[in-house]
């Protein structure tokens, strides 16, 4: 480890510390501040954060943790209730079909369909909570839709990456799908562990000086990431499946979740976002503006149009569609993966990140404005 690695990490951790404080004052998500700070301190302007092996390693770990926590956040208790899923499923199906059609017509890669469909649960939930409508029918449909969309898009991304990165015979193509077999096996093993060793398993979720739960969780994440590499699958799929496995098997466990979120959002994940910003090269020209406007148009169209099918009411439909257009962390994670695989260029990466930041600011603001204006009509 070189001295400049420490400088790099010192700058990044300082930014990570200051971001939430600044974000609170500016009333924007902390992730936005982290990316913008990264852009200012990175190659585009000050060039203070340089690329290094250590930063890349921590950033990769941050992405793995982000994917793990995204899987962990999926509330299967909500998703597995038939009455909850019907409307969100219709909404998602129409939205995704529409985005597929538009991206195909524009000759864009499939990853755009995923990026434009994806939604940030981290924005939808707090926005609904802020307006105290999260328990209303509208709020519940909104939360389930965003969870379902998150799960589906990340799942599709994983499958797409598998199909892109594997070549050869049937065995070579089938091998990466082995990760799903391991997932299912692990799920049943987890249930058996709960049933036959509840005393041991309960230690994972209680206050324990040895932090058995944290150690076990990290071991599971690394196991899934390792198996992913072995089977030729992207690490993010392994991490996402590990989080989903946790959520599906254990369903709850606030103490352990808090600790894992602490490690993730308190240390590793900000490094990923700051590094993403730092490695983004901003180029201002008309083509960039045109590209961002085009993305915004498509994003709002594919989210607002299907809401009219789900909600007959014009105001509900509009506000629902606007909120579902919010994008953030997972979209940026997907952009990073797309860039790494050569599916999107540096120009596209930069502008999709800017587009993501714009939706994360624009959508909740518009939603709040619209909802407050027509308060009585929302419920």
């Amino acid at each position: 480890m070189e001295v400049y690695d420490f400088y790099n990490i010192a700058i990044i951790t300082s930014v990570a510390f200051a971001s939430p404080i600044l974000a609170e004052r500016l009333r924007v998500p902390a992730v936005v501040v982290e990316i913008v700070a990264g852009i200012i301190l990175g190659v585009s302007f000050l060039n203070l954060i340089k690329n290094s092996e250590w930063v890349s390693f921590l950033s990769a770990l941050g992405l793995i943790f982000l994917m793990f926590l995204s899987g962990l956040e999926i509330d299967f208790n909500l998703l597995l209730k038939k009455e909850n899923v019907f409307r969100p499923l219709i909404y998602l199906s129409i939205s995704f079909s529409l985005v597929l059609l538009i991206t195909r017509l524009l000759g864009l890669d499939f990853i755009y369909a995923i990026l434009l469909t994806n939604v940030s649960v981290g924005i939808v939930m707090p926005t609904l909570r802020e307006l105290k409508i999260e328990t209303s029918n509208f709020g519940q449909v909104g939360i389930v839709t965003s969870l379902l969309t998150d799960f589906t898009t990340m799942f599709l991304l994983s499958i797409y990456v598998i199909l892109l990165t594997t070549e050869g015979g049937i065995l070579q193509i089938a091998l990466p799908f082995g990760i799903f077999t391991i997932f299912i096996l692990s799920y049943y093993l987890g249930r058996l562990a709960i049933w036959y060793f509840p005393d041991f398993m309960s230690k994972w979720f209680e206050e324990d000086p040895m932090e058995l739960g944290v150690r076990g969780s990290i071991a599971i994440i690394i196991f899934f990431v390792g198996v992913s590499y072995f089977l030729g699958v992207e690490a993010i799929l392994g991490a996402f499946l590990a989080g989903t496995l946790f959520s599906l098997t254990f369903r709850s466990g606030e103490v352990l979740s808090r600790k894992l979120f602490g490690i993730g959002y308190g240390f590793l994940i900000p490094i990923f976002f700051i590094q993403t910003g730092a490695s983004t090269k901003l180029i201002f020209d008309f083509s960039a503006i045109y590209f961002i406007i085009l993305l915004l148009l498509i994003a709002y169209t594919v989210k607002i149009f299907p809401s009219f099918v789900v909600f007959g009411d014009r105001i509900k439909a509009l506000s629902f569609g606007i909120l579902q257009t919010s994008k953030l962390s997972l979209t940026i994670a997907a952009v990073e993966i797309g860039f790494k695989l050569g599916l999107i260029s540096s120009f596209e990466k930069t502008n999709i990140i800017l587009f993501t930041i714009l939706t994360s600011l624009l959508s909740p603001t518009l939603f709040k404005f619209y909802t407050k204006k027509y308060e009585k009509l929302i419920d």
Partner: protein, 398 residues
Amino acid sequence: MFLIFGSGRVAREIAKKLDDYLLIVEDRSLAEKLEREGFKAVWVDPEDLINLPLNLPLKDSTVILASNLSRNLKIAEIVKGIARDVIAVGEKPEACSIYSEMGISKVCGTAIAATVLSEVSELKRRYVEVKIDRYNEGQNLKDLDLGDFCTILSVIRDGKLMKPHPELRLKKGDILGVLCGREVRYTKHPFEEVFVVLTEEKNSEKLLKEVELFKSKFQSHVLFMHKIGDTLACTTAEPENPNPVGLDEAIRIVKEFRVKPDLIISDVGKKDDSLLEETTSIAPLLIAKGKNAYEKILTIVNTADPYDLLNAAVSLGISCKCKILFLDVSQLSLLSKFTETPGLEIKVSKGNQVIDAVKEARSDYDLILVSWKNDVGNIDFGILKKIIFDTQASVIVV
């Protein structure tokens, strides 16, 4: 409508508190006098009581018997089974037990009867305050029988709140806090009507063991559902060689007859979601695994509406070790309900709710109570069914 039989003080007090009533008086002049005083009263010929069902709209009325014991019993014989409900007002404890034997709802203690009846009959209010007058002065609290639907929660004397001890001697001016409602009846007689459904012959002994437990502990009236040939039969006596019957078939019959038992005891081992759902919508289901006694009981509070579950837990938990596992901290607000129940241990899940529930359920319990609603605690139905069917303990699914 309320048909009040009687013309005395109690009958008039009750009438004053009700809107839609009719006083039925056996003395013509007294009926006329009451009418002049502004009461709605009619005279019936005491010799013609047998024709009461023809002359009065009994089917749609609640009959309140507020006369003396012999008249009340005579009228009860006639109207019972025809009137929508029959409530007797009695003063002496022996009268109350006679009414109980006849299967008549009763409110004993005439001075408080009027207030309580007027509230309870239509359940306008759940909490009633009754002032003790000279008629009940000197009585012990235990001698005031408020019937199946009401219970005394508190006694206020000279502005001070007192614990309602059974031996407490009442004074004039005492205020009784009375709580009325369906759950009160359940607390007093939690398992009065019990249906038994044997689904497999080999489990007969196990099932009957637990039926006996309920009979001895709760004086339950037991109805055995079994088959004679192809026909489903119901008997109050234990059949000698009972033929098994499917729980689904038994439930269909119970539903057709629109009866609502307090408990269904069965040996069912089939993990059939819809059958469990249908059964528990009618009554709690005890899946009997042949326990000789319920010495250790666990209640897993996995529902947001846990009153039935907790009432059953408290009823069963008297005189044994009973643990209540709350899966959510917010449910602790219900705790005040049980603070005075002896032998009760409260635990709140702090780690993982599913694992905590499994850990407890797999411990050495004789009986586990869970809710099929399962809307609190994130226990998935696969694990819930394992708790119900694969543990050593008998399980009551509410």
